[in-house]
Symmetry: C2
Subunit: 470 residues, 2 copies
């Protein structure tokens, strides 16, 4: 039976592990789907390309506010699809070809599971295509998958998830989105801006419930003006009526539409690996259990990314991949193993308005016992916000009144994911709110002034200008 020094299951962030330090190792890479993983193929990257086209369309509709009269003549959906995947697909193909041509790497392209560990301690792996091989070490980077509620999965009606919705042949007339998280919010923006009527069905009363309450409420308010939101409703089934899909809700009402997108969350793929056969603990939810060094409960087996992380974020998976890349080359119990750093993980939702967040929500900060001060600063209160005629953008910042440190930042509005970065940086490197506000220059009249002003409102002016004394 063929034996490998290292096996990597999954080619998202997992694929980035092997660098020149692994040239003398024999490596197996297992990918049942497309090289590059969720982010490249069906996640972050293509969605943002659609989102940008949506922004262009939305801006045209709103141009009149700025004294510029314009008409949106039409949207060439198939051109957008071709542009996006014409760029992405070759990257995925090229990635696979590169790995197949790497002398010390063997690619297995069907689903791979663990078998019973060999008497000599080598891990056994079996592919759906019938290959069996052993490996000294394994990295589980098998990602996550879209979760579809049984009521929809079993009703026999066609539906889409984020895996397929970006490749549909034409723009829907009426899209029903089930779920109210970030995937729902991004696709609602994409399709409504491009001209589709959008209805969202959510179990609770608000969208983006993972966000700070202020963002969650304000966003839901903005969203409800553009999209029809059926709140406190669950989908109990669906059937076809001629050319239409009829979505059945738990209050007996129905929604007629031509396309359904299920965006009810993603679950880790740890349940599909028979990992227990190798001694790898997996939670009931399918998450591979890891410690701070990304070690699973089985010696020599690491995991990273969506399959083992509480964050379903590419930048977290990449960070964990760097940690694994280092730790894999150390002894399992080496005191110099590096720990993953999950202290200040930012994230963004590329919807409209864009949302970006880092750190604690106000509720979380209060629950942890901090002496919380928070400020909601309107974009419309700074000069660049005037220029944009902005009426909805806000930056909410939360500080610890005892230490002056920033506990969380939550931005909804233009450039939110860019405006957040100085706050991520301040939190990560321990820069206090007042020092951040007054210890550096902020370009006038650029949009980051909204952050400066929020911090000043929270932390006050320092007793004198914090300048150098000569």
């Amino acid at each position: 039976m063929e034996h490998f020094d290292l096996t990597i299951i999954g080619t998202g962030s997992g694929n980035s592990i092997i660098d020149e330090r692994y040239d003398d190792k024999k490596v197996a890479i297992c990918e049942q789907s497309t090289f590059g993983g969720t982010c490249l193929n069906v996640g972050c990257i293509p969605t943002k390309m659609f989102v940008y086209a949506a922004e262009v369309a939305q801006n045209i509709r709103e141009a009149g506010r700025y004294g510029v009269d314009a008409h949106l003549d039409g949207v060439r959906w198939s051109d957008i699809v071709s542009r996006v995947f014409g760029r992405i697909d070759p990257i995925a193909i090229g990635g696979e070809q590169y790995r197949r041509s790497t002398p010390n790497v063997t690619v297995f392209d069907s689903h791979t599971r663990f078998g019973a560990t060999q008497p000599d301690g080598r891990y056994l792996l079996k592919t759906e295509a019938g290959d069996e091989f052993t490996s000294d070490k394994v990295v589980i980077a098998a990602g996550s998958r879209a979760m579809v509620p049984d009521a929809i999965a079993q009703c026999g009606v066609d539906f889409h998830t984020s895996d397929t919705i970006m490749r549909i042949p034409e723009l829907p007339e009426h899209l029903v989105i089930v779920g109210g998280g970030f995937v729902a919010a991004e696709f609602a923006h994409v399709f409504s801006a491009l001209g589709t009527r959008v209805t969202i069905v959510i179990r609770g009363g608000t969208l983006l419930t993972h966000c700070d309450d202020t963002i969650c409420e304000r966003f839901t308010d903005v969203a409800s003006k553009k999209w029809e939101i059926r709140s406190h409703r669950t989908v109990v089934g669906a059937h076809r009526d001629g050319a239409q899909t009829v979505v059945e809700l738990d209050d007996g009402s129905t929604l007629f539409c031509d396309t359904v997108l299920v965006a009810t969350g993603r679950v880790p793929n740890g349940d599909l690996l028979d990992a227990h056969l190798a001694g790898v603990e997996v939670t009931d939810g399918g998450q591979v259990v890891v410690d701070e060094y990304q070690r699973t409960t089985a010696r020599g087996i690491f995991a990273l990314g969506d399959v083992s992380s509480d964050y379903q974020l590419k930048h977290v998976a990449n960070h964990e991949a760097r940690v694994v890349r280092h730790n894999l080359l150390q002894d399992w119990d080496d005191p110099n193993l590096v720990a993953s750093d999950h202290r200040f993980v930012p994230s963004a939702v590329f919807t409209d308005p864009q949302i970006a967040t880092v750190g604690l929500t106000e509720n979380e900060a209060r629950a942890k016992g901090y002496k919380v001060k928070s400020k909601v600063q309107d974009f419309g209160d700074v000069a660049y916000g005037w220029a944009m005629e902005d009426t909805t953008g806000i930056a909410k910042i939360i500080v610890d009144d005892d230490s002056g440190l920033i506990l969380g930042a939550h931005i909804m509005g233009h450039q939110a994911s860019s405006l957040l970065q100085p706050l991520v940086q301040a939190m990560t490197f321990g820069l206090g709110g007042q020092e951040m506000a007054r210890g550096q220059y902020w370009i006038h009249p650029a949009l980051p002034e909204v952050i400066e002003n929020a911090l000043l409102a929270l932390c006050g002016e320092p007793p004198w200008p914090p300048s150098r004394r000569h």
Copy 2:
């Protein structure tokens, strides 16, 4: 003769000096023009409002690239003007009314100069309206003005400067801009995006010569595809020919146009104050000489902003105003005076593409003897740049290879003024390039990744992930 504890000449940043700590002081404020100064009335704020409308128009023209077909039907110039000044003018009027209603403040609304200092050491001030008063202390915050070359000023043909161009009654057909600095670059963008043909006359070969060479060259290249650039030319005169203005160049050629904008720089107003009568040294160029505490050469007289600064930037003037506000309340020779901090002053040009810069250019860094490493990172190499189909955006970062510190950053592209802020923050607080890149998370796939990638290309990956060790 009326006597004041403090006189402030100019109501831009100067107007922000008097806070509650000055409630028991008798203050004179002198403003010959409109309250709020250059920034509010004819500078940063209105220009950005025009620039945003221009961006909206430009995006419509480029929408087809994203699969969105649109028509620009027209630009309502007078609506744009009304929107901008309908917002700004009331702020200026309100600012004046507020000061006039402040019990301890007297407003003098004509040009004010110094007279000969009184025998008792009190400074004498005289207004054009005939008022005379004395003051213990004076703050000179008289700003700067657009400079117009004699050849244009004296030829008898109407021309505009940034003071007037934003209030013209209709969009020009053909605008000739004299000069190639930031004012020229912003208005060229505004008017060309809104539909005006633009010709720029510059003495040298490139626009924005204050920028790093890479930015300067790339921007000039982009600009020359949109605007007609007459380089290595000087305007020697102008005359009327029917309804047209004919601009005469030094090579004998002429430019027919309907509107001329002179944007050949701004000069400080220190030459208009008879400041020598108070013992205030003023350079030949009209700049009031100050030390690092913003003290002029005359005891009790401070200066700030464009009239005394090498930077013609509102955020610098505001910083200096905070310094003066503090130092005014100390003794003249107090060892606790605060110095202005001009180490890391960012600036932006809101043209197309937008430009933002902080710190040294590559040439400056080499001239100072640093061991320079620099990297030009394309926006098009990060995922968000793909989404934008960006072909021109760059971030150039310069580090000191000995210390790893960032020496300068120069960005041309979307959101440049927002993307720059984390670099301003890193430079100000001494965060090294490698630590900045790998010590914090960067949202994927947001635009700040262009900064992360530039830093990684420059500084390399750290020896292992810079995570906490537990």
